[in-house]
Structures are given as C-alpha cells and as structure tokens.
C-alpha cells in the first residue's frame, strides 16, 4: 500500500510536446501502469483505476495518482520573456527516484564525476552554505552555495566562483539556480523532474530555462545530457538502492546539508517511496 502522502503529489510522466505530436506513452508511475496520450486536444493520463489528475507545465505532463494536496509548484522564470526553454529528453536510471534527486542537489562530486566541466582537483572544498525548509511552500532551499569552477580544462587560473541555489519543490523534483554567464541580474534555471516508475527505477526529465540567444538547441541539450549521463553510473551503483532515511548507515558531512535536509523533509512528510527506514 502506497501512502496517501505519496499518492497525492505531482509527478512528471511525459514530455508535453511529444504527446501533443501524437505519441501514446505507456509507462509506470509508482508501480502502476499508466497511459499518456492526447484525446481531442487534451492530454489524458489513465491508470488502472481510471483517469489521473493532470496538469501541464515546464514542457512536461504531470500526473497525480491520488487527490492533489496542492497545485504544482511554481517556477516563475519559465514565463519570463527572452528565456530559452529546453526539454532535455528522458533518461532512464535503475535507481531510487530519491537518489536521483539527492545527486542533483550535491556539489561535492563535481571534481570527480564532472571533471574539468563543473569542477576539478584541487578545487574540491565545499564552502559553507545555508539550508532551510521554507514553511510557506514547504520546500527545501539551499542558498549561498558557491563552487570554484575552472574556466580552462587544465589550468587553475582564470577560474570563476559559480553561485548556486538549490530547491526541492516536490518529493521527486528539484530546481537549481545558477549564475548566468550572460546577465548579472538573473539566474539560469535547471530542473530535474523525476518520474518514479518503481522504488528502484526512474525516468529522469531534465529541463532548463536559460538566457542564451547564441547556442543551438542541440548543443544546450547535449551539454545537459552529458552532465546527467556522467551521474548515471554513480546512481546505478549506490548501495542500498533505497535511500536510507534513518541515520547510521551513511555518514554525511557539512557539505551534505542539502541532502540531510532533504532526507529529514521526506521522513517528516511521510514521502518514503524509494526510501528505507531501518538502518541495516
């Protein structure tokens, strides 16, 4: 039996453009088979018990298998004029949907997994940042996150300190805000929308809202896919597969404040699909 708290949330299940183009997607959500297709101009998600609640946002179709506890989270940047909106395309990963989100929130792995792109040795230190659970929206936010990223591949000169904010907007959806190279007054926005097929299998739908008038769409997609695919073999090799929500099995440090808050938030809200509670 899946907890009501889990069922009453919104989950991404398809790319809206693909469904509107005529694709009929048969997939799983929380272990149940669903179909997503377009009927008379409206996107419909049907499960074994009938139609699910549906909404469309940020290029994707979102479904709620239960009764929605709230509206889908807002991303105001998505409707700002001049933004490039990029549907990066689905990638399937044999891992817990919660592990996928937690990896997205982590920066300490940049020098080792995204070597010479998002980070490089010896610039491995994670500076103190701030984490809070915002009461009004009930979301986890990490702010004042900074990380040193070298500009050139092998050179440590001319590097820049990139600023980040991380936001857990739903149990399996997170957004990161990154300093925009082209503008000083705005953030580039990158979302990870994770569809839980089962507790150990997920479809990840990355998405972006950027200020970039220059790069071809295919390059923006390729870059983001490259970053995510570098994480995939990590995600598929973490043990246990289910995210431990009780302390003892895994040892966090100061650099892991966002992950610690995420796990605490999941536990408090009863969002345990893809998690394990008893430390082995």
């Amino acid at each position: 039996m899946i907890a009501a708290e889990v069922l009453n949330e919104w989950y991404p299940v398809a790319m809206a453009a693909q469904i509107r183009a005529g694709q009929r997607r048969v997939t799983q959500l929380l272990g149940q088979t669903i179909t997503v297709d377009c009927q008379e101009g409206a996107i419909v998600v049907i499960g074994q018990g009938g139609a699910l609640h549906v909404t469309e946002a940020y290029g994707h179709v979102w479904a709620c298998p239960g009764t929605p506890a709230h509206d889908l989270f807002p991303i105001p940047e998505a409707s700002e004029p001049g933004r490039r909106l990029v549907d990066v395309g689905v990638v399937r990963v044999k891992c817990s949907p919660l592990r996928a989100v937690e990896n997205f929130l982590d920066i300490a792995h940049f020098p080792f997994v995204h070597t010479d792109v998002l980070g490089a040795e010896p610039h491995t230190e994670v500076n103190r940042y701030e984490v809070q659970i915002r009461e009004d929206s009930d979301e986890v936010w990490a702010t004042k996150v900074t990380f040193y990223q070298p500009q050139a591949a092998k050179s440590s000169e001319g590097g820049i300190v990139t600023q980040y904010m991380y936001r857990v907007a739903a149990p399996t959806a997170a957004v990161l805000y990154k300093t925009c190279p082209n503008r000083t007054d705005a953030w580039d926005v990158i979302g990870i929308f994770v569809q839980p097929l089962s507790e150990e299998l997920c479809d990840v739908w990355p998405w972006m809202a950027l200020y970039d008038d220059v790069s071809p769409q295919a390059e923006l997609i390729a870059f983001q896919q490259m970053i995510f695919l570098q994480d995939r073999s990590i995600l598929e090799n973490q043990i246990p597969r289910l995210l431990p929500l009780d302390p003892g099995m895994e040892i966090p440090t100061q650099a892991d404040l966002t992950s610690i808050a995420y796990r605490r938030w999941l536990k408090k809200r009863g969002l345990t699909y893809g998690a394990q509670m008893v430390a082995a």
């Binding site: 937690e102 300490a108 020098p111 230190e125 973490q238 431990p244 895994e250 040892i251 440090t253």
Partner: protein, 208 residues
C-alpha cells in the same frame, strides 16, 4: 556458514594501483592493490553515500571513492575528505575489511579473523578466470575426470597431451566463476581453448 577461504580472482588480473569488484562470504567486495602491490578486500561500499568502492581509484597506498573522492588508507580508515580538506576525518569512518591473501596466483578472501591458509595448489600455473551460466554439477557432468567440491582437480587431454588442471570454484549471486590453473608445462593457448570448450559442454548440460 563455516568460515573458509574462497577465491575471488587471479593475481595476474589485478595489477598495481587498480581496484576491481569481487565477491566472498555473502558480500560484494572491492578488491584492490596499492601502488606498492599490497592487496586489500573490503566491503564494496563507501560509508558516505553507499557508492561502490570497486569503481574507485588508487593513488599510492590509498583507495578513493569515485563519487566524492573520499580517501581510505590500507587499514580501512578514511584519511581525507576533499570537500573539507582541512578536516581530519573522524576515526569512526572506516570500511569493513576481509582477510585477503594471494597464494599460487589466486586471490583468496575470508572473514577478517580467519585462521589458517587457503588450500594449497602446487605444481600449477594460473591460466584464466571464466564465468559460466551453469552450476558446478554441470561442469562435473561434462568432464567426469574432474572431482572435488571447492577446488575441482583432474587430469584432462589438452592439445593431445595429458595435463593437470585445477578449477577453483567461486559461487556468487551473479553465477559461477571458475579460476583455472593448469600444469606448468601446458600450452596456455590450448588450455584456454579447452576451458572454452568445457564451458560450452557444461552449459549445454545445464540447459538440457
């Protein structure tokens, strides 16, 4: 389970400064060799976020996790956390180690407090490791001159000559692996092809 030595690989397949995946005693293992050649077999799991240490990288006498670069010394204690370079990691951050010895060209593992030595295999040279989709019973059925349980031994015909072979059995959830040794005078290419043929015959038995 009675504690005993089980094989997890051949020495020749683990060069210096390399970590590989292994298995023994119900555990996935990270088996690694330091830059000076010291061998370790650890629980294949970094205590930080559970990443397999067998995917890690060896520098000097340390093994580091590929995920966040946490560095472990040969005794299993965490020496360095790259996200906090000035921090001395708490001594509580350790990886569980298994007993690990190489003998006769085979890498053997056992529970950490294991006494004694692995079974001796004399007069043989390591050949290769091979994985099978059948069981030991099928191997014995395919080659009745072999006998044994954890270590199969026998005299077989290789390249027109009688040759001693020794097949060390490793059972794991992933299936059966045989670590094969052959007589010192054997033609290794012919012996390797004999092993391939044995596998085909054994798997045919298993599928029948």
């Amino acid at each position: 389970m009675t504690p005993r030595w089980t094989a997890t690989g051949l020495s020749q397949d683990l060069p210096k400064a390399v970590a590989v995946a292994g298995y023994g005693h119900g555990h996935d293992l990270a088996v690694w060799r330091s830059a000076t050649g010291r061998l370790q077999a650890w629980n294949d799991r970094c205590p930080h976020r559970g990443m397999r240490l067998s995917h890690g990288f060896v520098r000097g006498e340390t093994l580091a996790c590929i995920y966040h670069g946490w560095v472990y010394g040969t005794e299993g204690g965490c020496k360095h956390i790259p996200a906090h370079p000035a921090l001395t990691p708490p001594t509580t951050i350790t990886v569980t180690a298994f007993a690990c010895v190489e003998q006769d060209g085979v890498i053997w593992v056992a529970p950490a407090d294991m006494a004694g030595s692995p079974p001796a295999i004399s007069g043989m040279q390591p050949l290769r490791s091979i994985s099978l989709t059948c069981g030991v019973a099928d191997v014995l059925a395919a080659e009745p001159t072999l006998s044994g349980q954890d270590v199969l031994r026998g005299l077989v015909q290789i390249g027109g000559q009688t040759c001693g072979v020794c097949l060390v059995v490793q059972d794991s959830p992933a299936g059966l692996t045989l670590h094969v040794l052959c007589g010192l005078g054997a033609d290794k290419v012919a012996a390797s092809r004999w092993v391939e043929d044995l596998r085909r015959r054994a798997e045919a038995k298993g599928a029948a």
